[in-house]
């Protein structure tokens, strides 16, 4: 049924034979995609366990957690974590989740696997770079995890590593000596990996599109990965210099971020003239786009999956793509909204506030288009579809609170409270992960040739959906009361009455986390026991569904599909009984 150009193709590289070349140092974008996915799974599991520990400590400070004292006798004597160890784990939770999960899973993992297939290429533009970028990222992960096992543990300066706390070294507190070194080095390495990856994505999208695959005909996920890779290219190109300067301040005695006359541990620090705000500017110039690096791929994934299950074209494709590009563009003008009260010139607050608010326009357009695409559809409520609906809901919830934090005058009250925690967890973490879940249930058949278990999938969705609202919605209320984030205990008089809320959140978090175990279980079970998947189980149109599940080494068995349609051909009636047209099939004359 698939019309593919019969021309025989010379391959980028021949199929590997040895185990090492096949599964470890593989050049195959599909294997690398799976490797990224696996790395993200490990990272997300660690990050999730950390969040449990943090939540338990906040709600039940007295609990003894035996294995914790094994992990760090100093950090958690008799299993009760010290304030500094709380901050260490907090830092690691944030760092692992933001860099190794939210950047890797929706972007690097799915992007690597499906971007080339969706544009009809048989691999990335630079397979060797691609392999290098994964192993660089892996190295970064190893270095980061190593900080758990060095003297006085991981850094306590948070995932934003504000200078001078992060820059002056051990005098600033536990974990800020070797632990912080490892952190900075790991992030620098991560930047290199991500830059290589982004370069590859862009070149692949520009150069390797098959015949007829115009930019306009690219699936939304491909568009999202493309836009994201452009953002990532610029963002990590700024974070890398920042990390280099930070490392120099720490090890070479320079004073980029450290001003003079600082007394830590009763010692006058041997630095002078540095600017702590410089770090914040460099960091957030990366940091805000990073939010979109995390969320845009998921938006694209949802936009690709939703029509498959509503059996109805996505509404306003061009407006949709335009909005994604607009968000990517605007994301570079708004970093200052993280710094309203940071001591930068208060005039600039207004300048940063406006584009921040303006960004809500394309975001609203995306949300409306997705929602309206459901209207009048013939919805099939398989698990991927449920996660699409869930995504839209949490994206709305998280986006709404952005209105508050974008206004300097409200940020003066809400800044650094749980309101912020609620905001970015909804819009960046949960939304992005819902995209990953949807993508997993949707593409698993293609990746492993087996269907995932629907019943478990539905349980997973409902528990997670209810769970995240129970965990993060109350955090808004805490924020309104002025509950400061990053506190390892609530000793302030006005925080005592909030402890019950924290208990509720903790219980909800533990249950939601437990629900993720269903997902892990489902992955493993389906990998080996799941029913064999057909070529196109969901009746989707994009090119990955024109090849076998899983695709052969060169994706299209030596052929290259010739594209004749956009990805949006759903709900088109016809004689063949199908209501859709594959991208490489002849258009229906309907």
């Amino acid at each position: 049924m698939h019309d593919v150009s019969s021309k025989r193709i010379a391959h980028l590289h021949t199929a590997p034979t040895t185990f090492i070349r096949k599964y470890v140092f593989s050049l195959d974008h599909k294997v690398i995609g799976k490797q990224y996915y696996g790395l993200a799974l490990v990272a997300v599991f660690v990050g999730m366990v950390l969040s449990w520990l943090l939540r338990i400590h906040l709600a039940y400070p007295g609990w003894h957690i035996p294995f914790l004292s094994k992990l760090s006798a100093a950090g958690a004597p008799d299993g009760v974590m010290t304030p500094e160890y709380y901050l260490s784990l907090l830092t690691m939770h944030g760092t692992l989740m933001v860099f190794f999960v939210l950047t890797n899973a929706p972007f690097a993992a799915f992007g690597n696997y499906f971007l080339p297939i969706q544009i009809g290429a048989e691999d990335m533009a630079f397979p060797r770079f691609n392999m290098m970028s994964f192993w660089t990222t892996f190295l970064a992960f190893v270095v980061m995890m190593a900080s758990f096992f060095v003297a006085d543990g991981p850094p306590i300066s948070g995932w934003t590593a504000y200078a001078p706390l992060s820059a002056v070294g051990g005098d600033a507190g536990p974990g800020l000596a070797l632990g912080q070194d490892l952190w900075a080095i790991s992030i620098a390495i991560f930047c290199i990996g991500s830059l290589l990856g982004a370069l590859n994505f862009i070149a692949t999208t520009l150069d390797l599109r098959t015949k007829g695959m115009s930019l306009a005909r690219m699936p939304y996920s491909t568009w999202a990965w493309f836009v994201t890779s452009v953002i990532a290219l610029l963002a990590f190109a700024v974070l890398l210099p920042a990390c280099i300067l930070l490392i120099l301040d720490r090890v070479a005695g320079t004073s980029f971020f450290i001003p003079g006359g600082l007394i830590l541990s009763d010692k006058l620090q041997p630095h002078s003239g540095g600017s702590p705000l410089l770090w914040q500017h460099l960091f957030w110039f990366f940091g805000h786009p990073e939010v979109y690096i995390a969320i845009l791929p998921s938006i694209g994934i949802i936009a690709t999956i939703l029509p498959v299950f509503t059996r109805k074209p996505l509404l306003g494709p061009r407006a949709f793509i335009g909005s994604m590009v607009a968000i990517g563009f605007l994301s570079y003008m708004v970093w200052g909204h993280h710094m309203f009260v940071s001591g930068m010139n208060p005039f600039s607050a207004n300048l940063f506030s406006v584009p921040t608010l303006v960004i809500t326009i394309p975001a609203t357009i995306l949300t409306l288009l997705l929602t309206a695409s459901i209207y009048g559809g013939k919805m099939r409520f398989d698990t991927p579809a449920l996660f699409c609906l869930g995504f839209i809901s949490v994206f709305i919830s998280g986006g709404i609170s952005g209105f508050y934090l974008a206004q300097p005058s409200l940020d003066t009250y809400l800044h650094a409270t749980y309101f912020v925690v609620a905001h970015f967890h909804f819009v960046m973490a949960v939304a992005s992960l819902f995209g990953v879940f949807a993508g997993t249930y949707f593409w698993f058949p293609k990746m492993f040739g087996r269907m995932m278990n629907e019943t478990l999938g539905k349980w997973h969705f409902w528990l997670t959906f209810l769970g995240v609202y129970c965990v993060f919605m109350p955090m808004h209320y805490l924020g309104l009361v002025g509950n400061v984030r990053r506190y390892s205990a609530f000793v302030d008089d006005y925080l005592a009455p909030l402890i019950p809320v924290h208990k509720f959140i903790t219980i909800a978090a533990l249950l939601t986390g437990a629900a993720q175990l269903i997902f892990f279980g489902n992955l493993i079970w389906s990998r080996f026991r799941g029913p064999i998947a057909p070529e196109n189980p969901w009746e989707a149109t994009s090119l990955e569904w024109t090849t076998t599940s899983p695709p052969p080494f060169d994706n299209f068995g030596g052929n290259h599909p010739v594209v004749k349609n956009g990805p949006n051909e759903y709900g088109v009636g016809g004689t063949d009984g199908n209501d859709y047209v594959m991208q490489n099939a002849a258009p229906k004359s309907a």
Partner: protein, 266 residues
Amino acid sequence: MGKVFAVVLTLITLVSIAFFAMHTWWLPPDISTTGKAVDRQLDETLIGTGILFLAGQLMLGCFAWTASDKNRAKKIKPFPGGAAPLVTAAIILVGIEIFTLTFVGSKTWGAIYLTAAAPDSLRIDVQAEQFAFYFRYPGSDGKFGGVHPEKIDDGSGNYFGLDPASDVAARDDIVAASLVVPVNRPVSLALHSKDVGHSFYVRELRVQQDFVPGLDIPLHFTATQIGKYEIVCTQLCGLGHYNMKAYLEVMKEEDYEQWLKTQSGQ
């Protein structure tokens, strides 16, 4: 399944909104001259975004409700009017929201951060360190002594690094662990840090301002309610961050004078 989703989503939405509407957990009453505007701003934003939130979630809910495919024969319906009206609506509605919020908000912000402190305002020097705040009053001579970081010695209570031996102005400086101010009198703070970044946050004043090492950052307010309020640190500053706090004590003018006397007596 679509119906179930619609119901669950509606419940979540209503419960979430209910707690906002009932003010179950809410801001403490404002005690500053600038805070009223912040509260008004917050209310406006709450209403605006509340409507968006409700509309968005319910729209999603009922579309999911109606979209479920019981009969495969059923034809799909295009969204009335297509994308254009939606996009235009989004741009116009959100645009208006943004415009008004920015318009009102920049005024509020300006009142707190862009206006100079009143000339007659009470000058207090604030130093943040791991993990405490210290407040310095100029004393009877009205002059602050110079600070010399290398002279800082917590052991002898010289938190600011004053040099009374050679600096006369420093001798009568009053250093306290609480921020004591007279009611209804403009206060102007100079914030500087001894070690790392910290932040000055008083919920009741509706102000928050970071300490940046190496900089002196001005902040001014006028407290209008006598009472004792908490000052907490909101910028991650190390292991004792959670326990970094001090108290703001707003007093009657005469009590304040009395307090000053006792302090300088020691």
